[in-house]
């Protein structure tokens, strides 16, 4: 399933919604560029909605880590929302669940972070 993404800016949040299969090699550089551009615009809070991500490869996880690193380098943060069971399990196996803040929905993330 081909990956698609949308980006919207709400208040001081950059909200990226990804759907399909997140394979780093295919869309990774583009997603990282979106984060770099957002940083240039002084966004420091990025919510990545994973509710429609069906499959994620290790390179896809690498992309999430790169986006997190970029944000943290400017004292920003990345919040993940609604990961599938598959994605959730991978986050636990890699212990990335301790590194990323994960919320049940975009709304929940906004309420807790604002």
């Amino acid at each position: 399933m081909k990956v698609k993404y949308t980006v919207k800016k709400e208040d001081d949040f950059l909200i990226m919604t990804i759907s399909g299969d997140l394979i780093g090699d295919e869309v990774g550089p583009k997603l990282v560029e979106v984060i770099s551009d957002a940083i240039q615009e002084n966004f420091k809070k990025c919510i990545i909605d994973l509710s429609n991500v069906r499959y994620i490869s290790s390179s896809g996880i690498g992309v999430l880590i790169t986006m997190l690193t970029k944000m943290r380098n400017v004292d920003g943060e990345v919040y993940l929302t609604s990961p599938s069971e598959h994605v959730k399990k991978l986050l636990i196996i890699t212990k990335l669940n301790n590194i990323f803040s994960v919320f049940g929905s975009v709304e929940e993330a906004k309420e807790n972070v604002a």
Binding site: Y55, T69, K89, L90, T94, L96
Partner: protein
């Protein structure tokens, strides 16, 4: 029943690999989450071979054979040339990955966690990596 796939050492072949594995695993008695994990693990090993052992040289090829024996799914990946023994690979520290002091490495850690057994054989020319998943394991 055995399923076989030949991949040329080009990253574009990984999409074919995922489709092949989805088809092979479709009717197996494992959860969708486990299917995704198994696909990830096999893709990771093949991607490593394609990128690191063969430098994306599309003249090289690797072969994958999938076989079900009793309650085990066995993924046998063969290639020729520089060997990559993932059993000897040390996973990076997560903190280093986050700070970008070290790129990659998480994939091999995932392969080791997802699969129940990993075997590696090489005669210096031909290499075989066997990934074994027990179908009722978590």
């Amino acid at each position: 029943m055995k399923h076989r796939l030949t991949l040329y050492c080009d990253k574009s072949q990984l999409a074919d690999l995922r489709n092949f594995l989805s088809g092979v695993l479709k009717d197996k008695p494992i959860s969708d989450t486990t299917k995704f994990e198994v696909i990830l693990a096999v893709e990771e090993v093949c991607a490593n071979l394609i990128i690191h052992s063969h430098g994306c040289n599309s003249k090289d090829k690797i072969t994958l054979q999938v076989q079900e024996i009793d309650d085990k799914l066995i993924f046998e990946i063969k290639d020729s040339g520089k060997s990559f023994n993932l059993l000897e690979y040390q996973a990076p520290l997560l903190g280093d990955v986050i700070r970008e002091k070290r790129k990659g490495g998480l994939g091999i850690m995932l392969v080791k966690k997802i699969m129940d057994k990993i075997e590696f054989e090489s005669n210096g020319k031909d290499n075989t990596c066997r990934l074994i998943k027990i179908m009722d394991s978590k």
